[in-house]
Amino acid sequence: MRISTTSDKSVNQNQPNQPNQPNQSNQPNQQVGIGKPQASLWARLWKKSHGLLVVIFWIMTWGIASLSVGQELLIPSPQVVFGRLAVLLSSKPFYVTVLASMGRIMAGFLLAVAAGILLSVLTETVPFFKRLFAPLVGMIKATPVASFIILALVWLNSEGVVTFVSFLMVLPLVWGNLSQGIRTTDRDLLEMGRMYHFSRWKIIRYVYIPAVMPHFISAITTGIGFAWKSGIAAEVLGTPKGSVGQALYEAKIYLETPDLFAWTLVVIVLSLIIERGVLWLIHWTAARL
C-alpha cells in the first residue's frame, strides 16, 4: 500500500532492471543511474540547509532576547545553554536518565496506542460499548493532568505514574481519532466490498486501513508530544530517581535556568526523533501489509 509517494525509492528500484533491458550500451545507462541520486542529493542538501537557516534564525532571536533581558537567570543565552548541554551529553548518567524517562513514557504511549486501537474497533462495532465508554472518554479528556498525577501518586510508585499518565493522555486521542476514521470510512466502498464478496481481511486491508490511516498518523504525531509533556510533568511531581523530571525539578529548586533549557531541548529533540521514527515505521509496515 502506498500512502505517500516515495520518488527516491522508485528510482532506486528501477536501477537493477536497467542492465536487463535490451539496451546494448550499458555505460550511458549507468551514468544516468549515478547522476540521478546526486541531483536529488543536492536537492536534499538545499532542503536541509533551508531547515538549518530556520533553526539559526530562531537561535539568534533567542540570543537577542537573552541579551536584551541581560539576566542569565531569566533567559539564559544560547552559549550558556549549549555549554551546559555539552557537559550533559558527555556524562554517562545523562544517557541512563534519558533512557529511563523515555522507556517509561514510550511504554505509556505504546500501551495507549494498542488500547486505543482495540477500544475504537470495539466501540465502533458494538453500539452498546460506545454508550458505555462515552462518559469515561469525556471524563479523561476533561480532567486536569495534575489531578491524575496526584491521584496516581497515591496508588502507584513514581515510575508507574509516568507510564500511567502518558497512557491516559494518549488513549483518548488515539481512540477518538481512530473512531472518527472508522466512522467516516466510505460506505460506498464497504457496499462494493460486500457485493463482490470481499473477505473480512480484504475489507479491513483495502477499505478500512486506507481510510483510517490519516487519522491514525495524526493521532500518533500529536500523541507522542502529549506523552512527553504529560510524562515529564508526572516526573516533576513524582521525581522518580534518575529521571528527566527530577533534573527539571532540581533546576527549579536551585534556579539553574540553563539546566532547565538544556533538558527541555533534549526532550524536544527526542520527541521529534521518536515521532519521525514511529511515522517511518508506520509507513514501512503499511507498505508491506
Binding site: D188, M192, R194, M195, Y196, Y206, P210
Partner: protein, 210 residues
C-alpha cells in the same frame, strides 16, 4: 426465470419509490431499464442486488437466493465507480477474481496503458472503464449496471457496449440508462420506466436486426 419482483413496495420516509411493482426478467439476455433521472431506477437495481430490502412484496432471485435455491452471483457496477483508492487499476480488477488475468481484459477496454497507475491518477472515463472491467472480471449470473457508460465518449462507449453483448448469451445483463441511444444499441429488451412511484411506461421487444 432470472429475477422476479412481485408486488414490491419501497419507500424512503414519505417518498414512495416503488408501489406494487411487478417485473420479471429472463435468466439471460440484455435488458435495459430506461427512464428519466430520479424515477427510481437505482432503487430498483439495488433491490435486485439485495442491497435494499422491500417494505412489501417479494423478490425472487437475488444475491441471497436463486429461483432454484442457490444464490445468484451478481456483478454490479454502481453509479459511482467505487474503486479502491490505494490500489492500481490492475489490482482493482484482479482483487475480485484472482483466476482472471486482467491484462487482456484491460486491453479490450483500452485501459491497459493505465494498468499500473493509482486509480485517482486516472481520468473519469478511465476510472469508469476500470469499474466495468472489474464487473466483467468478477463474472456472474447477473450483471447489474447503473448508468454504466456515463462519462465515456461515443466511440469508447460503443467499444465497451460491444464487450457486454456476448456476455448476454450466458448471463442476464440489466442496465439502467436515461439515454435512448444506449438503450437501442445494447438493449435486447427495453423497459421504459417513469415515476416515482416507479411504473412501466410500455415494454417492447426489440427485434434483432442482424
Amino acid at each position: 426465470m432470472g429475477i422476479e419482483l412481485i408486488k414490491v413496495s419501497k419507500a424512503y420516509g414519505h417518498q414512495i419509490i416503488l408501489q406494487d411493482f411487478t417485473l420479471s426478467l429472463p435468466d439471460k439476455g440484455i435488458v435495459c431499464l430506461q427512464g428519466p433521472s430520479g424515477c427510481g431506477k437505482t432503487t430498483l437495481l439495488r433491490l435486485m442486488a439485495g442491497l435494499e430490502q422491500p417494505d412489501h412484496g417479494e423478490i425472487r432471485g437475488t444475491a441471497s437466493q436463486k429461483s432454484d435455491g442457490a444464490p445468484l452471483k451478481i456483478a454490479m457496477v454502481f453509479q459511482e465507480d467505487r474503486l479502491l483508492p490505494s490500489l492500481s487499476a490492475r489490482r482493482n480488477i484482479a482483487i475480485v477474481n484472482k483466476d482472471v488475468d486482467p491484462d487482456p481484459l484491460m486491453d479490450r477496454l483500452g485501459i491497459l496503458e493505465a494498468a499500473d497507475k493509482q486509480v485517482h491518477d486516472l481520468s473519469g472515463g478511465m476510472q469508469r472503464r476500470v469499474a466495468l472491467a472489474r464487473a466483467i472480471a468478477y463474472g456472474g449470473d447477473v450483471y447489474l449496471l447503473d448508468e454504466p457508460f456515463k462519462g465515456l465518449d461515443p466511440d469508447t462507449k460503443k467499444k465497451i457496449m460491444d464487450q457486454f453483448k456476448p456476455l448476454g448469451r450466458h448471463a442476464l445483463i440489466v442496465f439502467v440508462t436515461h439515454d435512448a441511444a444506449e438503450a437501442a444499441y445494447l438493449g435486447e429488451q427495453i423497459i421504459e420506466l417513469t415515476g416515482p412511484p416507479l411504473h412501466r411506461k410500455e415494454a417492447c421487444l426489440k427485434q434483432d436486426l442482424l
